[in-house]
Symmetry: C2
């Protein structure tokens, strides 16, 4: 795969300028054949990392376009190979003609993600960083942007590469001990090994714990709006989204389907979910809706329990059967119809609002944004592959620590460490298979 | 308008890489403030026409993206001003953040076509060339590509700039004569003036004559398929387009609406138009269809008269009432049902085909492509504005030639020449108004 020179359009559809990328051994040679400029020095003899203005000429000598060409020589390029970037007029006819010429001169079209795959293969990025590139392109808000940027620039993967290196060193000592077989030698300092294992364990612990948040931040933090019928759940959803998303009426049980949409507040994307009001209903459709309400409720990170008075509020909270890691916020609606209620007896955050008149919505939003705003500065994992590999690696580390404590024979400990090392290696791509690489890079867009 | 530094995304939507353009006095200064690289030399002190790798940093010091930055210094840039091009990861969040920073540092967002407008204002392109840039981007086939490329690279507009210069010289001589008033002096050599006027006249004549073709080539050469009911017009349309575009049945009068679609053959785009069969019909809807058939027939450049035998063919041709510049081709359909008919008595191109079985379609297509293939090598105008200005200019030239022949007083001739010069000047943009500029450039995309 590495022997070919590849070409693809790297820019999007439409616009005024398109960018083509050409990477591989032959890329400069191909460019020399179809690029013509006033400067008669062949491209290969010009300085690398340079910009050139000229024409792309087809085999018949006809001008395809006036272009700007950037030339990079290995290893100082995105892929680590010789590379050419061509900036031409944004017409798919023109980019098509340029690709056609490049193919005739010995290039082939690139697979999705193949430029980044090459960057990884040539050691320009590790696997976690490469995944960060894809995340960066699909970034839609400040938080996912910061997480992806951190990941692409090395973030925690470089730390794990270091820790893994140290563990590999211990591992080789232990393998040596095993080679000596019967002789009772100990090359690996057990105390220092345990110290290292604890450092790795703590790192992994905090990262895997961050995944729940990370995943939510990537896809939108799920916020369920629940409450009795007719307390104003749909009105609150509409007020938060600033549009008439859900149908609002005076009839209890108006909302049956789950209605949801995302909104970015202070750089964090929230997924607000309007649900059917909770009551005993004889209406079959409504009953199904209420069942679904509980289902979504259990998956939500934040629950907005909306009420119009504070009587029986604790019974309602108990009925929700929330888990410890779910955040409950009490919303007292219709504040325009009554005095602000005394909520000092409640142990949860409370907001007096009028969903209908958009009163108090800004304070609620500020609170939500604060809850997740700090996440922007933490190291957080957002990728399920990383979570899985870190969790698997942790199992081996935990068993090894236990083994060391209980004086388990060295060969069992060695086996645990080998497994851990394997999973850590898979994370950064030091150990990997073509199948995994394919599944990672095929989700990229072409030209990246 | 020229005092501002402008920014816009110049690439399309999606993809892996986006390109931003920054142009104007402050562009390098702005880039220096938000771009940071390992090289500590300020951008303004680095060599122009150069490439730089680094980060875009926001005012809080946070990295927005890793980018490639190209720097151009006036006048060696597209706009003729100082320019910066930034190649970043293709996320609208990222491009939005970069634009936000540039605005905070004193740029403003660019209007559609504003980069090219500046190129024109700074003398990098004349108006005809600038229009060629827009045409080039919307190019979809070899012919429009060649015409737009020729136009953008100067083509006929540079020739007119030269001719106009010569005419201006004569004009100033004539104005001088008029200044001397009563004295009977003749500074402008009338013979040479007439020679020049004829050269200009011939140029304009051939260009304005090319407009009909040019316009057709740009929008697709209109080819009407006409004939009696049930001879296979819709089947021919489907065969040409290679899809089931029109409903085909044995019932005479199946097609009522005009059905059309384009197809590019040999680099030329044709617009094939299926029409209602021509007959006297009592059906109101069909009668309206037949009326429309004649309407489209008169606007077509090529008419495919389809028949299933050659009896009465000359009567049918007469009924079509074609003009001299319309090209008629006789299509004898259903050749699978009879021997090839003797068409030697007909003075038009004839093709024996079977639309149903796709027999003979390739020969018909080759013929159409040949008819317009040569157009690719001619100088052709495709822009209605150019046609109008050239035609107006020609009127003045013709009157001046006539005046010279008839010994009309110099001040009348001067007036004709002034008008001609004005229209020629408007063509290339040497004389122009803001209104015209606005209407030309507002049709561009943003970032061009």
């Amino acid at each position: 795969m590495q022997e070919n020179t590849i070409i693809a359009v790297a820019s999007g559809i439409g616009g005024a300028i398109s960018t083509l990328r050409l990477s591989g051994d032959k890329s400069i040679k191909i460019a020399e054949q179809f690029f013509s400029s006033k400067n008669s020095t062949p491209l290969s003899l010009r300085k690398p990392f340079s910009l050139h203005f000229g024409n792309i000429i087809d085999r018949k000598g006809e001008i395809i376009d006036e272009v700007l060409l950037s030339m990079f020589k290995a290893p100082a390029s995105y892929t680590g190979e010789d590379m050419i970037e061509i900036s031409c007029h944004a017409s798919s006819y023109i980019t098509g003609r340029i690709i056609e010429e490049a193919l005739a001169l010995g290039a082939r079209t690139a697979d999705p993600g193949e430029f980044t795959l090459r960057a990884y293969s040539n050691g320009k990025l590790d696997l976690v960083q490469a995944e960060g590139v894809a995340d960066l392109i699909s970034t839609t808000n400040a938080t996912t942007h910061r997480l992806a940027m951190n990941q692409m620039r090395g973030g925690y993967s470089q730390e794990f590469t270091e820790l893994r290196k140290k563990l590999v060193h211990f591992m080789s000592m232990i393998e040596l001990e095993l080679d000596f077989g019967e002789e009772d030698v100990e090359f690996a300092d057990r105390t220092k090994l345990k110290e290292l294992l604890f450092i790795i364990k703590n790192k992994i612990d905090s990262l895997t714990a961050s995944f729940k948040n990370g995943n939510a931040l990537k896809n939108g933090v799920p916020v369920a709006i629940v409450g009795k019928p007719n307390v104003g759940k749909s009105t609150l959803l509409n007020a938060l989204l600033n549009e008439e998303k859900a149908i609002v009426s005076d009839i209890a049980g108006t909302t049956r389907d789950i209605i949801e949409d995302t909104k970015t507040i202070g750089g964090v994307t929230f997924r607000f979910i309007d649900t059917a009001g909770i009551r005993n209903s004889d209406d079959t459709l409504e009953a199904i809706g209420i069942e679904r309400t509980f289902d979504r409720l259990h998956k939500a990170h934040v629950i907005l329990l909306i009420v119009d008075n504070i009587e029986n509020i604790n019974t309602q909270i108990t009925e929700l059967q929330l888990t410890n890691d779910q955040e409950l916020i009490i919303i007292i609606n219709k504040c325009d119809l009554h005095e602000d209620l005394d909520t000092s007896s409640l142990s949860h955050s409370c907001f007096n609002i009028s969903a209908k008149n958009h009163v108090g919505i800004d304070k609620l939003e500020a609170h939500l944004s604060e809850m997740y705003g700090n996440a922007q500065n933490e190291v957080i994992i957002t990728n399920a592959r990383h979570w899985e590999l870190l969790s698997l690696s942790l199992e081996g580390i935990n068993r090894a620590i236990e083994g060391l404590d209980n004086g388990i024979p060295t060969d069992f400990i060695a086996q645990d460490l080998r497994e851990s090392l394997h999973h850590l290696g898979s994370l950064t791509g030091e150990i990997t298979s073509d199948t995994i690489l394919h599944s990672i890079f095929s989700s990229f867009c072409i030209g990246k």
